[in-house]
Symmetry: C2
Subunit: 343 residues, 2 copies
DNA sequence: TTGAAAGCGCTAACAC
DNA sequence: GTGTTAGCGCTTTCAA
């Protein structure tokens, strides 16, 4: 541990010298302990600790052609859903000695490709990426290098990529079908920015599909696209019900934040939910259970998705037989914010 | 871009050969473009793109003794506060070409030290760490290597470390003082696990200090420590008011999640807030504005903290004159969940 | 402005 | 079981 801040960090050769062995043995002591005599090994560990030696990862990577680095590309860390996935993925990989590089694209496809470029330059050996709507070059780069990857969170049946996630379109069809079964025939949608976002696009498609099966469609003036904030949810509900009729009896929101915003505004406007209006969310945030009325929404197990993505990559890295991933399910959680269509 | 997945990735020497220059010139073209003839440079860029060459970071790090890596150590990504800080810090550093390694300690000091060890082995050149309550070896390791660091989020006046954050103790004293000024004399506290957590410990000290200045103290049966969930907030409020008297007129919660849980339970129990009971939180979550009644809480600008931490480290790395950081403020946001002590 | 050559710190054959 | 040696892919003097 003694070492002045002026001198450079110790190297394997310093440990070797102090322990009276060669650098090869120092390396073995740490990477293949069983190949070193216990007493020699202990001596080396003691000396290494004494000197505060940490094996330089760049040197190791260069010599062994292994970086023990993986990457995960997400839109932003500022969203519970992605944070939960990354947290789980990282916990799993780090338990296997793999360091995770986290790249945030800020929902920008070019930034996403840039981040992957940087990660590849750093030598990631595997990659998890949220969303399959990416610049083609992104997948080309990783394929060219033979880096195993998995698309996380999204999962569409026709995807050419290995996926660990759920089918957004099917989930929103299921949700819409539930509302149709309650008798609703006039819908509004409040959703997040859809450009370059396959999840949002799939959700909208799911809604439209389910409606079309009943010969229904969304009126353009009943579709609101904007930032996923309480404020946008409120504002959209106000515009939606404030304008000239006909008015929807059910509002499908792209996520819980928008739905709670809508719920808050409905309350402020004195609208009876679910008597006069049904509202749904997506994500099942912890607070969804406690809004008034409690929010009908859908739940996805993001921790399980993160773990599964990590396991998939670990298998690919270990040349293990690859367990074909079945899609995750989004569960419908029916609470008080939805009810039969008003008369 | 053409390259079979069987062959190894191209190296600088391949680019050099194809461009008819030496590897030194390839290196210069990317790292000191002004030292290379424009036409030669363009040729190199074209060839590099054609070959899909990405400079191997391990090789570069070894030769240049620069990794362009920084680390950030947080308890967990699963918490808006830390996610926001990391997001901002990473955005800033990545704009300067620095890759950020994110380590999560899961609130465990030994894991924290381990994470830092791994980061140092990878060659981080700077480190931001949440919380100053750490194993001494953690600070020893980074000092021994002369790695600049900053304690993020926490800031105590007497800290021996460079800090970018706010004074938790002062913040909770201010909050408690506000309640005292409203006439409250009997308090309860619902807080997060305090072991090994300097922020929570400081918050409790802040409350106790302010109370002591009025000759008051917390009754042991009015202090609840547990996970920061809605459920623990609810359960604690129930226990607190369900037991034999005397009952507090004000409940200070360690964060908004606990406070909202308490608010939900108070509502369920038919207790008038703030008429019969005042409740406060901390963090000013977006939802805090919309609870009923809206939550009195404190706000800290976590994005600004993340940015400031990044700027501090950037300055240290650039040998810039170090701007002494002044502490951030936690602002009291008074809303409807607090009022004068009931009669 | 460019090239030659010597490493950066470590691992992996191959000998012993 | 351990040492010797030859790189891994890049940057950086130093010359030219």
């Amino acid at each position: 541990m003694r070492e002045s801040r002026t001198s450079r960090p110790p190297r394997a050769i310093d440990v070797a010298a102090a322990a009276g062995v060669s650098t090869a043995t120092v390396s073995r002591a740490f990477n293949a302990p069983e190949k070193v005599l216990p007493e020699v090994r202990d001596k080396i560990f003691a000396v290494a600790a004494e000197l505060g030696w940490l094996p330089n990862a760049a040197g190791a990577a260069l010599a062994s052609r292994r970086t023990w680095l993986a990457g995960v590309l997400i839109p932003t860390l500022d969203h519970d859903v992605f944070a939960a996935q990354v947290n789980a993925l990282q916990a799993r990989l780090s338990a296997s000695g793999i360091t995770v590089l986290i790249g945030c694209s800020n929902y920008d496809l070019d930034e996403a490709a840039d981040q992957v470029r940087v990660m590849l330059a750093r030598g990631i050996e595997a990659l998890a990426v949220v969303g399959e709507l990416q610049r083609p070059e992104l997948f080309e780069m990783i394929s060219a290098r033979g880096v195993p990857y998995v698309v996380m969170y999204s999962h569409s049946p026709k995807s050419p990529h290995p996926c660990v996630g759920f089918d957004n379109q099917a989930a929103f069809s299921k949700l819409t079908r539930y509302l149709l079964d309650l008798g609703h025939r006039s819908f509004a949608v409040i959703h997040q920015p859809s450009s370059d976002n396959d999840r949002v696009l799939a959700r909208l498609a799911g809604i439209r599909d389910a409606l079309a099966s009943e010969g229904l469609a969304l009126r353009p003036q009943h579709v609101f696209e904007g930032q996923a904030t309480f404020e946008f949810g409120r504002e959209s509900l106000r515009k939606c019900l404030g304008g000239p009729g006909p008015h929807p009896t059910a509002i499908i929101c792209g996520n819980d934040t928008l739905a709670i915003g809508a719920l808050i505004e409905a309350r402020a406007m004195g609208i009876d939910v679910p008597g006069a209006l049904s509202i749904t969310g997506f994500d099942d945030l912890p607070i969804a259970e406690f809004t008034s009325p409690p929010l009908t929404t859908m739940r996805v197990d993001n921790v399980a998705i993160g773990k599964a993505a990590a396991d998939y990559l670990l298998n690919r890295l270990g040349q293990q037989p690859i367990v074909p991933r079945d899609a995750f399910e989004a569960d419908l959680i029916v609470r008080g914010s939805t009810g039969p269509a008003g008369s």
